[in-house]
């Protein structure tokens, strides 16, 4: 913020804070105290509880809980689901942002709305939709059963639900970025003889890479943490169709608090790593944005 200081008219200039927007001392301290308390109670305390509960019975128990075969299976399944959903949504998000940001076509606003759909629909509902489509009584159920393909209560269903729920993250992040950058650099690349792929790879992608990474990080965090939609399609078969969040719930319901929190601590660590990565990427993206010349001003 620019620090423009001027005396407050009507009051003795020296007696009060010189910033026009600065509050009196006690107001400031009260506001800070409220914010810190809020943060502490709602964010830091739960985080601390997760880790302390996880380690309550010692590090050996903690490790054993993670090494337990069902836990390992849950971790593996979570990694598989995220490992498929994130790259797919990355490709889709880049394609959608490219189409929406660089071209004009009819139905564009409809497409944008559709991309946002998973944000506005409850995850449980999206899970149910998949059950209605792929379940035994569902639309494609009989056909799938006849060909011995299991989607619901199996890994494919979990992957599908994860893809659906994490659909908008990358696209949402990239669309405004791509729109802001316009098409001039791409046009320049084409007149210089670059092919479509070269233009994308050498010009478009480097310009959106930080935004893309940011979207991928958020997408990944959600993919690993998704509960509602996955819960509906999973069937909760231990060691087979339980992801980490589902596994935690089962352990918790069975009063196995230490193992539940041990697995939960992994998700919490993921959250912390995500926050850290997000901060780094945001910082990098801001640097890149600073390089983006203030075009409108210069054009005048």
């Amino acid at each position: 913020m620019a620090s423009i200081t001027f005396p407050n008219p009507g009051l003795p200039a020296a007696a009060h804070a010189t910033h026009a927007t600065t509050e009196r001392g006690w107001v400031r301290w009260t506001l800070i105290a409220v914010a810190v308390t809020f943060l502490g109670v709602f964010l830091f305390l739960p985080l601390a509880v997760v880790f302390s509960s996880a380690l309550e019975k010692g590090f050996a128990v903690y490790l054993a809980a993670l090494r337990e075969p069902d836990a390992m299976a849950a971790i593996k399944l979570t990694l598989i689901a995220a490992g498929i959903a994130v790259p797919l949504n990355m490709v889709f998000g880049v394609a959608a942002a490219w189409a929406i940001g660089k071209f004009e076509f009819t139905g564009k606003s409809l497409l944008v709305t559709l991309i946002d759909l998973p944000f506005s629909v409850s995850p449980v509902v999206s899970g149910l939709v998949y059950v209605l489509i792929f379940g035994l009584q569902g639309l494609l159920g009989p056909w799938l059963a006849a060909h011995d393909i299991k989607v619901i209560f199996a890994v494919p269903g979990i992957v599908l639900a994860t893809i659906f729920v994490t659909f908008p993250f990358v696209a949402r992040e990239l669309i405004p970025l791509v729109e802001a950058q316009g098409t001039e650099e791409e046009e320049a690349a084409i007149t210089l003889g670059a092919s479509g792929f070269q233009t994308f790879w050498r010009v478009t992608l480097p310009n959106i890479k930080w935004g893309l990474l940011y979207g991928v990080i958020l997408c990944n965090a959600r993919a690993m943490g998704e509960f509602g939609a996955v819960s509906v399609v999973s069937g909760h078969i231990r060691g087979r169709t339980n992801t980490m969040p589902l596994h935690i719930e089962i352990l918790y319901n069975e009063y196995q608090f230490a193992p539940a929190f041990a697995v939960a601590s992994l998700l919490a660590l993921l959250a912390l790593a995500t926050l850290l990565a997000k901060t780094v990427v945001e910082w990098k993206a801001r640097q890149q944005a600073a390089e983006l010349e203030p075009r409108s001003g210069e054009a005048l």
């Binding site: 001039e184 650099e185 046009e187 320049a188 690349a189 084409i190 007149t191 210089l192 003889g193 670059a194 092919s195 070269q198 050498r202 010009v203 480097p206 310009n207 890149q288 600073a290 390089e291 983006l292 010349e293 075009r295 210069e298 054009a299």
Partner: protein, 348 residues
Amino acid sequence: MSIEAINITKKFGHFTALNNVDLQIPRGELVALLGPSGSGKTTLLRIIAGLEFPDSGTVRFDGNDISDRTARERRVGFVFQHYALFRHMTVFENIAFGLRVRPREFRPQRAQIRAKVQELLKLIQLENLADRFPSQLSGGQRQRVALARALAVEPSVLLLDEPFGALDAKVRLELRRWLRQLHDEIHITSVFVTHDQEEALEVADRVVVMNEGRIEQVGSPDEVYNHPASPFVYNFLGNVNLFHGRVEEDMTYIHEAATGHVVYVRPHLLDIARLPSGGSHFRARIKHINAAGPLVKVEAIAEWGDPVRVELPQERFRSLQLMKNEQVFIIPKDVKVFPARKEMARAK
């Protein structure tokens, strides 16, 4: 390479950007497309480049129809108003881009690319800034890099879209003289778009004046300035006084029972005198005098009440010793008469 645009029409929705435009540009010329915004000049340039495709019409390079070729295949150098430099690449990499993206069999070797880029950096006088990023350059430097980048691929024609539009006045002046000099050295067929008549008249071999999707006149700067083909051209290329008048045989009467003729006089083609001359003249009262600059700008009110702008050389002004509110006679030295058309209404 010569460029021909034949019967080009382009519409954006209901807006007709180009209406049946024909243009021939001979090899090696530096041509300006001049016109107000919305006149279709940028659209014409982009159609020549292959960045836009016309609804109808043909584009030919050296007589060959290239209408169906993409921008990539046309081998044109294109310079954008806002430079469009690749912001994540250094100056060096920007200039080398066109060489690096060539198919392997046509791609020069590393050393050759380096030599070519060095040569271009020397040409644009930015040898020391090869490792800078575009954000670290001034506007004028960026535009020179953009030009070098376009020249690196040895294009058959060079197309520049308002190349100096985003620069401040002083840099713009320097850069356009530099462009003229550059063209005299490398003789590449070049077309640049501008809305600045001074720029077009100073830099170009030929000026194409455009208005409302049509070409009003094509000619040398001297021709379009001194022999304008239409009131629009006369009006667009410099300041002008506009009178309604009547034409009878070889006489023109200003402000007398108008017969639908319009009389245009440039301010510097009017003289002021204390006594009526033998020839044409009219009475006026001086309202305002601005003596700053090479010409003294005098605003007067004609006897029928319309404002008149006169530009006098400093010596003439000093010898007359004009005063505000003085009654004087204004003597037109040269006038241009056009039959009234609807363009007049749009004259600036």
